[in-house]
Amino acid sequence: MPEGTFCNRRPVNTEEDLKSLLGDKGGAQYYKEMAELEVDVEALKATLQKTLQSRTKTWLEICAHCGMCADSCFLYRVNDRDPKQVPAYKIQSTLGEIVRKKGEVDTAFMMRTMEVAWSQCTCCNRCGMYCPHGIDMGVMFSYLRGLLFSQGFVPWELKIGSGMHRVYGAQMDVTTEDWVETCEWMAEEQQEEWPGLEIPVDKEDADTMYVLNAREPKHYPEDLAEAAILFHLAGENWTVPSEGWEQTSLTMFAGDWAGCKMQVERVYAAVDKLRPKRVVGTECGHAHRATVIEGPYWAGLPSGQTPVPFLHYVEWVSEALTTGKLKIDPEKRIKEPVTLQDSCNYVRNHGLAKHTRIIMSYIAEDFHEMAPNREHNYCCGGGGGFNGIGRYRHQRNVALKTKRDQILATGCKLVVAPCHNCWDAIRDLEEEYEIGIRWSFLKPLLISMVIVPEHLKPQEEDE
C-alpha cells in the first residue's frame, strides 16, 4: 500500500512538511505519486458506513434522472452543454459509483473523481434549487471532497491550504507576530490622516470583534486599514483578536473536516476570551460560510448558531448606513452604471441579498441587477477553491465566461464584489477576456464617499 512523500493520506501538520510540499513546484512530484497512491478500501467503507445516512442515500437513490438540473449548472451551460457536465451525472458517476461499489474503487477512478469534484463543481448549490426532489448536489460534492481528502486525492494547492490552517491557523503563513505587527503598522500609517484611529488588539468586552482573511494582512494590508477607518468613522467600539483572527477556511474547500473544526474553534475561542457582543467578518463569502453557517456544526454546537451573533461585512455596512453611523455624501455616490456580484455563500446560502441591495441604494445612483440575481445568481466561476488550483486553470478560465457574459449584459463597467473569491474571479476574467471592466470591494468605495464627522477630521485640513 504505497503512499508518497507528498501525496498520502496524512494531512500536513508541521511547518517542515508544509515547506517541503510547497517546494514541489506545481505539485509535479505530488501528482506523480498520486497516480501510484492506493485506495484504502477498508477505511473508505468504514467512513461510508458511519457518515452516509438517509439524506444522502435518499438523494442518490430517488434521483429521477430527469435532467432538470442540467440548465441550472453554469458549468454545463458554459461547456457547450456537455452531458458529462449535468450535475446528476457528475454526482452519480462519482459518489454514486463509490456508494454502489461500497468503496471498492481504484486509483484511476479516484483521480478522475478528484477532477470532477474540484473542476466540475464549485459547490455553489444552485442545482439543488432546480431539482424537483430537492437533491442538493453541491452538498454531496462537499461530502465527496471529504472522502477524497481522507484518501489523499486532493489537489496540491488545497493540501497546502489545509496544511496552512493546521500549521499557522491561517490560510497563509501569517504568524501571530506578523499579524499583530501588521495591525500596529497599519494603525500608525493611518494616524496622520485619521487622528485617533486605532486597531485595538485583544481588547476585552468590545462591542465588535473583527475577523478577516489572511490575504488581507499578507498581501493587501490596506484592506485592514480601510476596515479600521470605517469602524473609526462609525464610532465603533471594536477590536481584533491576536489569535483566531483568520476567518477563512481552505480546509472547507479541501474537505478536511478535522481541519475545519480546528479552524473555526480558534475563532470561537477568541470570542470566549475577549467576550465581544458580536463579530463582524470581512468581505469574504466562504469565510462566512465556514465560520457562521457550517462552523457551529463543526464545533459541535447543537443550536447550529455561533456563540455570539456573527455579521457578514455587508450586514454591518447596511446597518451602519441605515442607522446613520456612516453617512454618504450624495455628491460622491457612484454616478456611472454599476452592477453587483451576489456571492453564493452568503446570498443563496445565507439570505443576505437584501443587505447588499440596501447598500447599493445608498452608494449608487444607477444600479443594474445582473440576470439572474440574488438566490438564483450564478457562481463567479472561481468558487469552492476553483480559483486556486493550477491543474484546473484552463477549466476555471472557461467557467469565467458565465460571469463575463452576465456583466456584459448589464452594460456596466464597474462591478461591486464584496467577496474575495468573486473579486479574484472577476479580476481574472478581465485579465483573460479584456472586457474593460473595473471591480471593487465595498470598503474603498465607502471611504471615497463617506462624510467625515467634524471631530474626526485632521486638524491641519483647513486650508
Binding site: T51, Q53, A64, C66, V86, Y130, G134, G304
Partner: protein
C-alpha cells in the same frame, strides 16, 4: 382469479404499499442527523417545518417554481401525469366499488368524464416524459434501463385500465392485466424509485428545513424563493 386478485392479493399489495412506504418514512427521519447533515433540526423545528412545507407546496404547484417555469415542456408533462396518477386511482368509481365491497368504506367518486380526461392526460404526460428522455442528450446520459422500468410500471395500470374501460378487445383480459399491473406497482413502490411517493415530501421537506434553519431562513424568512 378475479376474486383472488381483488381479495387476498389486494390485501397483500396494499399492506406492502402502505407498510413499506411508512417504513421508508420512518427510516428516513431516523437517519437524519443534525451533526452529519449539519442542520439543527430540533432546536428550530417550528421554523424549519414552515420552510419544509413551503418547499413541498411550491413544487406541487404547476409553474410554482423558477425551475418549472424555465422548463415548461417538462412541467406540463410532469403535472399531466402526476395529477392523474394521484387522483384517478384514489377516486375512480370502479376502485371505490371494490373498496366498499372488500373493506366496507369508500371515497368520494370522480365523474366518469373527468376520470377519463385525467387518465388520457396522464398517458399523454407519460408519453411526453418518455419522448423527452429519448430526445434530450442531458437526459439520455442519465437514463438507465431502471428508469424505463419505472416508467413502464407507472404506465401499465393506466394503459391497461383505459383499454378495458373502452371495451376494446377482450375486456376480461385487459381488466386482469390492469389489476395485476396495478398491484405490481403497489408492491414494488416501497423498494424502488417509486418510493418518491413519500420520499419526495421527506427530501423536499429536508431541503426546505435546511434553508430555513441554517442557510438564511432567519434573514430572508422561512420561505425560500424556489
Amino acid at each position: 382469479m378475479y376474486a383472488f386478485l381483488t381479495g387476498p392479493m389486494l390485501w397483500v399489495a396494499l399492506l406492502v404499499f402502505f407498510g413499506g412506504l411508512a417504513a421508508r418514512v420512518v427510516w428516513y427521519v431516523r437517519g437524519l442527523s443534525w451533526q452529519l447533515d449539519r442542520v439543527a433540526y430540533g432546536p428550530h423545528l417550528a421554523h424549519g417545518l414552515k420552510g419544509g412545507i413551503h418547499s413541498a407546496l411550491k413544487w406541487m404547484l404547476p409553474f410554482g417554481t423558477q425551475s418549472w417555469r424555465e422548463q415548461p415542456y417538462f412541467a406540463v408533462a410532469f403535472f399531466l401525469f402526476h395529477i392523474g396518477a394521484v387522483l384517478v386511482p384514489l377516486f375512480l368509481a370502479g376502485h371505490n366499488i371494490i373498496l366498499a365491497e372488500r373493506f366496507g368504506f369508500s371515497l368520494p367518486v370522480l365523474p366518469m368524464g373527468i376520470a377519463d380526461a385525467l387518465t388520457v392526460a396522464a398517458i399523454i404526460g407519460l408519453v411526453m416524459i418518455a419522448l423527452r428522455r429519448i430526445a434530450l442528450t442531458e437526459v439520455r446520459i442519465l437514463t438507465t434501463a431502471y428508469d424505463w422500468f419505472i416508467l413502464a410500471v407507472s404506465a401499465a395500470p393506466f394503459v391497461t385500465g383505459f383499454v378495458a374501460r373502452l371495451h376494446v378487445g377482450n375486456y376480461d383480459a385487459w381488466l386482469l392485466a390492469h389489476i395485476i399491473t396495478g398491484e405490481l406497482l403497489l408492491i414494488v413502490a416501497p423498494f424502488t424509485k417509486l418510493s418518491h411517493i413519500v420520499l419526495f415530501f421527506m427530501s423536499r421537506g429536508q431541503l426546505g428545513m435546511d434553508y430555513a434553519i441554517k442557510r438564511g431562513g432567519y434573514s430572508r424568512g422561512a420561505a425560500f424563493p424556489w
